[in-house]
Symmetry: C2
Subunit: 324 residues, 2 copies
């Protein structure tokens, strides 16, 4: 059994040792740059944990699931272009450090490097696991589309918002866990239970991310606190606040949120005040924790010895109230 | 045996009947838009022709090779963003009709729709054919990178230019023909000969494209004549002219070519005059025809009855002096 940091090391080693077609270093430099920024490597780590539920050896999945991390980073590169984000994990974004065209093209090549990774799956598994991955990849694109659509909308319902983060964030995490299970020859029912585990974990994770963007510590989180508020991004905090606010609070929130003031800290302060009046941080944390509980419930359905589940349970727990 | 127009119809039908995840029509509308613009469907048609060399039934390759067309159109959508092109095949480009972000994201999803198509390959062929495709996909990105690099360079050698168009255009055509051959259970040597056929055909095709951009008829070609000259794009015409021009002509050519004048027709006229003095149209056509001859020579190495090669030979011939 590997623990989280052991698995993260395995993925980081695989990322460093990736063999590229290096005929153009200009194309690959931004790829290496984003992949060296660090991060939790959550998706491949979860995939290997799921594999590890069923099998002690996990070597043949390392390269394929490394593709999940490359895909995820591809989405960050292109999302950052679309969001005009200048900083990611404390570093300049690719289009900021290079330029827009470079970020488009280097992002594009990452989708094919992802495929290269999956192509290293054992032949009998390739079609099966790649189908699960690719379905999620298309759903991630739909999620990003909904996210862009919501930017222009004043009102986004709780359900609409949940579906968006499900597509944009949760399905890839779900697919990652399911792919790991498939490497471990899990049966259909167990693979589905683990998909559900990942989906709920992903929803919790995104809601936590929303909370951290407003309430997190920049030194830990690497992003400027309040970035979502400044950009007027729809988040669970905003959606929940819109839902439970009084008509006056709601009007005030919507007016401030859609305003394009140069005084960023004033905007953040005004929005946060409304959130605080409505106890939004707590409500959102409870919601996130509900999803974590549902995730654990799905994990219970997987019939392997309890001690084999320890790492997945620890991972789930570490997301609870994650602002450290 | 199917002829070219029969195969094109088969691909167009497959494209129309593609099943999409339509949860967001905003994401898919631009995809349908570019795929409905028409075009020769050269890559899947060549793939099916290669399959047809060895087999009368080609049905199981139709969906997989349709992926080649979707991939090709993905590259057009993203290249048009990078080139700031406003018109493609006589229609507004995606980023022009929608916006940059939409063109990035709808282009992205096309790469995964491409994967969906390949995933419909028979299990025993998937890994094999998808490897050939994906290697080409990465090379196409490198080719686009070199193309962008060359925009800023004044001098690009004949060899550098050839390598760029080989990567950007020829390898995908080569891979298409090879994939068709693999569906037809061609042996390694035949598959390689067909790859070489496609590679040379692709080089000829791109040189013809360069000639047509300057000397073609807009009504037939769908693009404004002289677009490459206005954009200062390095083409075989420019590279050849730079190579054989006198020092005076060369200086004049480079000065005009890099100038950003508002008088487009004057720029086109001045450059074309130098090309004409140097007989560049003829030289380039001869070069293109040399590649077509080499392509036919590779085709001879494939040991199937001559009459089975008729469609590929016709296709090769139709590219000769193609300005109709």
């Amino acid at each position: 059994m590997y623990n989280q940091s052991g698995l993260k090391r395995i993925i980081n080693t695989a990322l460093v040792n990736l063999s590229y077609n290096t005929e153009s270093e200009k194309l690959i430099d931004p790829v290496k740059y984003v992949l060296s920024m660090g991060g939790k490597r959550l998706r491949p780590v979860l995939a290997l944990m799921a594999y590890n539920l069923f099998s002690d050896t996990i070597d043949d999945a390392v390269m394929p699931v490394t593709g999940l991390e490359i895909f995820h980073n591809f989405t960050l590169v292109h999302d950052d272009i679309m969001d005009k984000a200048t900083v990611r994990r404390g570093f300049p974004t690719v289009h900021n450090k290079w330029n827009f065209n470079q970020a488009i093209l280097s992002g594009d090549v990452m989708t094919f490097i992802t495929n290269e990774c999956f192509l290293q799956s054992p032949s009998h598994l390739l079609q099966k696991v790649f189908r699960v991955f690719n379905k999620a990849a298309i759903e991630v694109c739909i999620g990003q589309q909904l996210d862009m659509d919501f930017e222009k909308a004043v009102v986004v319902s709780h359900e609409e918002y949940l579906r968006m983060i499900e597509l944009k964030t949760a399905v890839l995490i779900a697919a990652s866990v399911k792919i790991g299970a498939m490497f471990g020859s899990a049966d259909e029912k167990e693979a589905e239970a683990l998909y559900e585990y990942g989906r709920n974990l992903g929803l919790a994770f995104q809601i936590q991310d929303d909370i951290l963007d407003t309430y997190g510590d920049i030194k830990v989180f690497g992003k400027t606190s309040g970035g979502d508020i400044i950009a007027g991004k729809k988040t669970m905090l905003y959606v929940k606040a819109s839902e439970i606010a009084s008509p006056e609070q709601k009007k005030k929130l919507h007016d401030i949120y859609s305003s394009e003031t140069a005084d960023h800290s004033a905007k953040i302060k005004s929005v946060t005040e409304i959130y605080d009046q409505l106890n939004i941080k707590n409500i959102s944390e409870n919601l996130s924790n509900d999803y974590l509980r549902t995730a654990l419930y799905s994990l219970e359905k997987v019939s392997v010895q309890q001690e084999r589940k320890a790492e997945l349970i620890l991972m789930t727990g570490s997301l609870e109230g994650r602002d450290h």
